[in-house]
């Protein structure tokens, strides 16, 4: 009897010992887990603090390099910003980024990159028929065109040398910029003329889509900005900048501070003022980013990658040549071309609203209707 009692007590003691050991193991696990969580939280806090304490000197407070400039610091949406200074005219060719003449296969082709459009190709953009814009506008209004539309935000007018401005910030490697430049070129062609445009592509990692470049692109450079264009208009200025990085790789972009630094190195007051404005508006959310007079379009105003818009490759536009795209735009008869014209119509309507409808294209019924429907 006494023996069994002793045995039982021994067993209970041992069990208690085991329990204690397990409890110890659990305790140490608990400590590890809580400390891991604490480290994670601290890391997040440190990360946020590091970001918020980034140097803010990148946005210059005033610009005095070229001409007297009104700073953007007091930008209100009703007040225009006045800037005087020369715009940037780039060179027609780049020794480090020559025209590539050999035919290459889709997906990894740079055929004719940086080649200027010939006269007939340029005429497709400069002399597009108003009837195409009207037709596309009506299709957009009656809902027979999809994937076109935008909710613009307000911005103060940037008046450069007495004319309102269209500002564009993009990247040569970016797929949406590539698609969007076609519509932009069509829209800008209604307010003025391009003396030159260049054949280009989005990067290999971003679809290798045929597109237009505003200026020859530094497609081999590790990092740079292609400023300027060959556009002339009596109604508006066109201020354009594309981030340039290796076209054979994927999409890349630098922060706005980098663009500001690069613009400062050019000494062009309008470009510096344009970037100041973009920084102050606090609505930059990637490329393409454009301001059409009083309206900010933070992104592309259409998704148009061919007659069908896929969410995964293959992308129809990737398998088209510049000649095919231009041919479609010269004689629109499919959804791809109508979408480009409709996307251009939205840009035109915003610009017309910003210049008091003074350009002839603003008299098109479809443009006026788009302005009133969208409240521009």
């Amino acid at each position: 009897m006494a023996d069994s009692k002793e045995n039982l007590e021994k067993e209970i003691k041992e069990e208690k010992k085991e329990e204690k050991k397990i409890e110890d193991v659990v305790k140490s696990l608990k400590i590890i887990s809580w400390s891991a969580l604490a480290i994670g939280i601290i890391a997040i806090i440190v990360g946020i603090l590091a970001i918020t304490s980034l140097p803010k000197t990148s946005a210059p407070t005033s610009v005095t390099s070229v001409a007297p400039v009104t700073t953007v610091s007091n930008a209100s949406f009703s007040k225009a910003i006045y800037v005087n200074g020369s715009l940037i005219t780039p060179s027609m060719s780049l020794p480090d980024a020559p025209v590539i003449t050999q035919n290459q296969s889709f997906g990894s082709r740079l055929t004719n990159i940086n080649e200027p459009l010939n006269a007939s190709e340029l005429a497709v953009i400069n002399n597009a028929s108003d009837s195409y814009f009207e037709q596309a506008g009506l299709m957009l209004l009656n809902g027979s065109i999809d994937s076109v539309g935008v909710q613009p935000q307000n911005a103060p007018l940037l008046i450069v040398n007495g004319k309102p401005s269209v500002i564009y910030l993009g990247a040569i490697t970016c797929i949406f910029c590539g698609e969007n430049r076609w519509a932009m070129a069509l829209a800008l062609g209604r307010f003025g003329k391009f003396n030159a445009l260049f054949k280009g592509y989005s990067s290999f990692g971003d679809g290798d889509l045929p597109t237009l470049y505003w200026a020859p692109a530094e497609y081999n450079i590790s990092s740079g900005v292609d400023f300027g264009n060959f556009y002339n208009s009596s109604y508006i200025n066109f201020i354009s900048m594309d981030y340039a990085s290796p076209i054979r790789q994927g999409f890349e972009l630098q922060p706005l501070s980098y663009f500001i630094q690069q613009a400062e190195s050019t000494g062009s007051a309008p470009y510096i003022a344009a970037l100041q404005l973009i920084s102050k508006l606090n609505n930059f959310q990637g490329t393409p980013y454009s301001i059409w007079g009083r309206f900010v379009v933070p992104g592309a105003d259409a998704v148009d990658f061919g007659n069908v818009n896929p969410s995964q490759p293959p992308i129809p536009l990737e398998y088209m040549t510049h000649e095919q795209v231009l041919s479609q735009l010269a004689h629109p008869n499919d959804m791809f071309a109508w979408r480009e014209y409709a996307a251009a119509d939205l840009y035109i309507a915003m610009t017309c609203a910003s210049i008091n409808n003074t350009a002839p294209i603003c008299a098109l019924p479809a443009i006026q209707k788009i302005e009133s429907v969208n409240g521009y």
Binding site: V25, V26, I51, T52, F176, C177, I260, G299, Q312
Partner: protein, 169 residues
Amino acid sequence: MAKAKTFKHIFTKRLYFFEFVLGSLIYTLIYLAIVNTNKFIILSWLSEVLMGLLILSSSILLVIATFIIKNASKPSGYAGGAYSVIVSLLGSLFVSCGCQAPLLATMLYFIGLNAVEASFLYSFFASYNAFILLAFIIINILLIYYYLGMASQYTKEGKKEIMKKVFTK
């Protein structure tokens, strides 16, 4: 070995397996919704594979965390569950960070960043999204390993193994 047995023990139970399937489905739907908001086109098979792995590992982590919560009400279980949800959300945000990222940008402006700061982060995420996803997956796998160790205390097999270890010491 105890961890493998615990894993088998959890995932052979219908309820937990259902949670795994449901979790994966919800994470996939969230990912697709974010991608759609960003007008993103999935161009790289690598991003798709990494995102798939992230969704799978997050769902597994969620199930194991639920098991721990149910069997022990351990706070670390809640942490694991929350981490699983957060990491799949962030992964979706970063992988869809291409030319345009309206959702991420909105969040960055919401937490008080200005355009220059937001563009700094945004361009970083856009350039390194594959590496960030890979890091998330590795952390998920490490957490799964750790949580399985914790969960094994509440399965027969695990208890046996712990006992063995305790007695052999």
